[in-house]
Symmetry: C2
Subunit: 579 residues, 2 copies
């Protein structure tokens, strides 16, 4: 027997279709409809019919084995055998001792599945990773895509292997001491296959998002709309054993309610944490530079654990790659990197030339662990016209400096799949829409976006082309080659150092002291008894260090420490201990 | 000589027109343009020309002597002779010892001017009023209107008498010990005469308001858009000596910036307060039930001083008038009034049937002074189809109970013009648009709005009809008649009691204790040694009181206290002291 339930507050007759005739459902207070079907059970395919509509998939479908246009399938979460009873959960302090590893299931392995990903986990453990962060796995249009245009948020993508395969992946992570983080998108839904409006007022015209209709989080019926998303987050944490959620683009979640949607998410995560007895984290991607997102609820914050540090990324990238286009206009000096390391963000209320307005406010009193720091992520790579990684945009020396700054930072460090070996493959924007009009719109939109930067249309890869997806897959066979092996070793060594030296995971930003010279192009970051010294100049440089300083590691064989003199070749970095 | 300046960040050539040829202005960084004209001075009429446009009034015009379509006029704020050097400003505790008196300049007196209003101030002082709150005085379409569709926010309305007359009114208030509060509208601008878009990106399509385009408070160029409004507030406080601002409909001010527009307003008011050496208050009208609006900045609030207590109004009105239509659906029990008195708001996170969602959060730790409490205001009267006041909707006995509950409440009490004598005149919705299409749209919109409640179109007064405005003017000649004189005396007596008994102005909500019976229709509000006892039933009732209780006042001659028994006739109220 299966209990079917769906929310359709303005429906007048709702039914569920399994094999033959629709079974009428009973209206409950609050706009829910329900029915128990004796003949249905795990594996039964079903649809809903609202007021005589064609059969529609379930907005809360747990499984869409045939994709967004197929039926929903009944799933029993109790049938999976978990082996992670000893798993310790994901305390923030523990997580900051390693790296988060962001991966896209479809391109992480040649197979592009959850099960195939399991085969690479040991390498991540060896690297020093402590958490795997999956880009959205919700059901989205077609067989491949980034996942941010999800439409069935409760259903793990069919082409990745569906629900049980995802559970196997999370279980395998926990078995190896890796936490599992899931990227969830609650600011909009994808354009194709979005049946939610057929069921209820999920969207509002009162606000706009860059990607389509805004979600109705504060209008009539919004309690259930909020619950749709918040229950979804709770499901991933409870039924799929995820340890953390990364909430996409919270700046596009417009909610004027007295209890903000994000605060309500955090409250629910607390409930789940208490119920499952594990530490859970809620991480934001935010373009707001607003400390409210991560401040404690007691002082008016939303209480999220960390926020992606975009300023730190932009400051690093602009400095190391020398780019100044688009939002990199706001960055570029060594001072910018210094301020991010000392105070979290650069834009703390100052004027942003790119935004043409003041931006942000100070994160006073918050620690480094309130931020996730990175040199690359899927967006920063994939939103480039040609999807180039940092390795294609800066010298090896600068790449190593960037890695050192991230992996010794006071933030929770994050790597994007393949970054650890400076993968040669791009990460392009790819889609698999089946609707030809939508496919054309995506391609043309992409061309128009980059035309603004002077790109000729024919240089822009077609997101719909199968080779765009194929080219984005990691080539694991290159890992052993130069310079990939060298870069992999560098990342591994840095992460080992992070585990070994407690000063590096000290979250207190007031203990970070940075000195630098824009003219001579060097930067020194002091963190307790540890000091990073970076020479960005195209020629060697010499630095005075303390008498008792010892060299922990250098990015170049010619890095040398003698007496009180540290010698750094052009574009190199050293890490010292000097008690 | 006059210094002309205007912000037009995307303009390519901007000039100022006085008598003859446009004088070209010089572009400054930040999008401002300026020029000094030797021949111009106070009293000179001028226009701006942007990129060859027709002459446009100044967005920051200090004076529009001919209304929204005429020229702007140069004004010298230094030329007015103020006599209020001894004025003490408006500390919140002092204000709560009297009442705020909301008035509409155009209907408060037959003449409808600032100067005419001065003639009535002594009566307000005699009543016990401590602050006069002017509905918006900014320049709006035509000669009369409510003022919420302002388009020249810096210009006092020409038909009210213009800048100097407004200063005379504020000066006369201060001379009599009255504070002056101004209603300002920063969530939208009026549809007619709105030239702001010709100068710069003041508006955004990213959000919608019920009244038109949302203001661009967080997009590109928004620093100057915010400054346009915030400088305006500062001008009223500094150059017109206002003591407080009442900010209209803050729920429609959508701003995702890390420093919310309202917080920035409060910061600026602090600057002005320091500069002028007076206590200033910032009061919100808010539909959010969000304590953040009035919480201290140190704990994530915006730091505003008070918020209009809509829940308290709705609870009182639904209880006393028995109405349940529209948003009154959410109210009606004595318990609702009790919760408002004890905890500020009723909707503190509970489900609102009218809104079809949960609403608000608790105002824990905040005091009564964080709220403005009222039985009527311009909206609650004027947004009714026929503009009826409470006096037309409930018995005299209940009206007196309502007044007693408001004027002994822990909130800052407020009266709406004429409420003190239960004025017989309605307060209707009236406009004076000169554009026939807009005039028709307003009339038809009003009809459609009330058609939803079953009103036939011909019963809805035409907002554009001169008699709609004329009928809304107070009739001061009725004040001496029954029952108006009795009501006036009741309000005066209550306010005298409020001044005399310190328990009534104790802001601590935890000291408010309410007991009640829905069945027997009574309510007792204990505030320290003072107790209000109200009998809402249609028959007399008897209450046990403390041995040492004394009767401070009763709303009916038959109210009697003997031994430990207080006898209240049907629909009456008494106030006791019982130490």
């Amino acid at each position: 027997m299966t209990h079917f339930a769906v929310w359709a507050p303005e429906g007048e007759a709702v039914g569920v279709v399994t094999t033959a005739e629709p079974a009428p459902m009973k209206a409950l207070p609050g706009g829910w409809w329900e029915v128990d079907l004796e003949a249905a059970g795990p594996g039964t395919d079903y649809w809903f019919v609202v007021d005589g509509s064609e059969p529609l998939p379930d907005p809360r479908s747990p499984w869409q084995p045939e994709g967004i246009e197929g039926p929903s399938r009944v799933l029993d979460h109790g049938s999976f055998t978990w082996t992670d009873q000893q798993w310790h959960g994901c305390p923030a302090a523990w997580l900051s001792g390693g790296a988060v590893y962001e991966l896209h299931t479809g391109t992480f392995t040649p197979e592009g599945t959850f099960d195939a990903a399991i085969g690479r986990l040991d390498q991540l453990v060896d690297l020093g990773v402590r958490a795997v962060e999956l880009m959205p796995v919700n059901e989205f249009s077609g067989d491949h895509g980034w996942g941010y245009d999800g439409v069935f948020l409760y259903a793990p993508h069919h082409a990745y292997g569906g629900p049980d395969a995802l559970k196997r992946l999370v279980d395998a992570c926990h078995e190896r001491g890796l936490a599992a983080i899931l990227d969830v998108v609650y600011n909009h839904l994808g354009p194709a296959g979005n049946v939610l409006e057929r069921f209820g007022p999920y969207f509002t015209a009162r606000y706009a998002t860059p990607w389509g209709k805004a979600v109705n989080l504060d209008g009539a019926f919004s309690d259930e709309v909020r619950a749709f998303f918040i229950d979804n987050g709770a499901m991933w944490l409870r039924d799929y054993h995820f340890d953390a959620l990364r909430v996409d683009a919270v700046h596009a979640i417009i909610d004027t309610s007295a209890v903000h949607f994000l605060e309500e998410m955090v409250l629910r995560a607390d409930d789940v944490s208490a119920a499952v007895g594990r530490d859970l984290l809620i991480i934001a991607e935010s373009d707001l530079n607003d400390p409210r997102v991560v401040r404690a609820r007691e002082i008016g914050g939303y209480g999220m654990d960390s926020v992606w540090n975009e300023d730190f990324h932009h400051a690093l990238h602009a400095l190391l790659a020398g780019e100044r286009e688009g939002y990199y206009e706001d960055f570029g000096s060594i001072a910018d990197v210094a301020q991010c390391l000392e105070r979290g963000v650069l834009y703390d209320g100052r004027y942003s030339p790119f935004r043409r307005r003041r931006h942000g406010r100070p994160f006073t009193g918050l620690g480094g662990r309130s931020f996730v720091g990175f040199l690359q992520n899927h967006d920063q790579v994939g939103n480039r016209a040609l999807g180039e990684r940092s390795a294609a945009l800066m010298t090896l020396g600068r790449l190593k400096i960037g890695a050192a700054l991230v992996l010794t930072s006071p933030f929770v460090p994050m790597l994007f799949q393949g970054e650890e070996w400076a993968a040669s493959t791009p990460f392009l924007y790819f889609t698999d829409h089946r609707d030809p009009a939508l496919a054309a719109a995506v391609h043309n939109g992409r061309r128009a976006e980059f035309a603004a930067f002077g790109w000729p249309p024919d240089k822009i890869p077609d997101p719909q082309a199968p080779e765009t997806f194929a080219r984005s897959k990691l080539r694991w066979d290159e890992v052993g080659e130069a310079p990939h092996a060298e870069m992999l070793a560098w990342h591994r060594t840095l992460l080992a150092l992070r585990r070994r030296l407690p000063d590096l995971t000290d979250s207190r930003l007031e203990r970070v002291q940075v000195s630098f010279s824009e003219e001579d192009q060097w930067l020194r970051v002091r963190r307790g008894a540890v000091e990073l010294v970076a020479n960005l100049a195209p020629q060697p440089a010499e630095f005075h260090v303390g008498e008792r300083a010892t060299l922990e590691l250098g990015s170049d064989p010619d890095v040398s420490l003698g007496g009180r003199s540290l010698k750094l070749p052009a574009e190199s970095v050293a890490i010292l201990s000097q008690p």
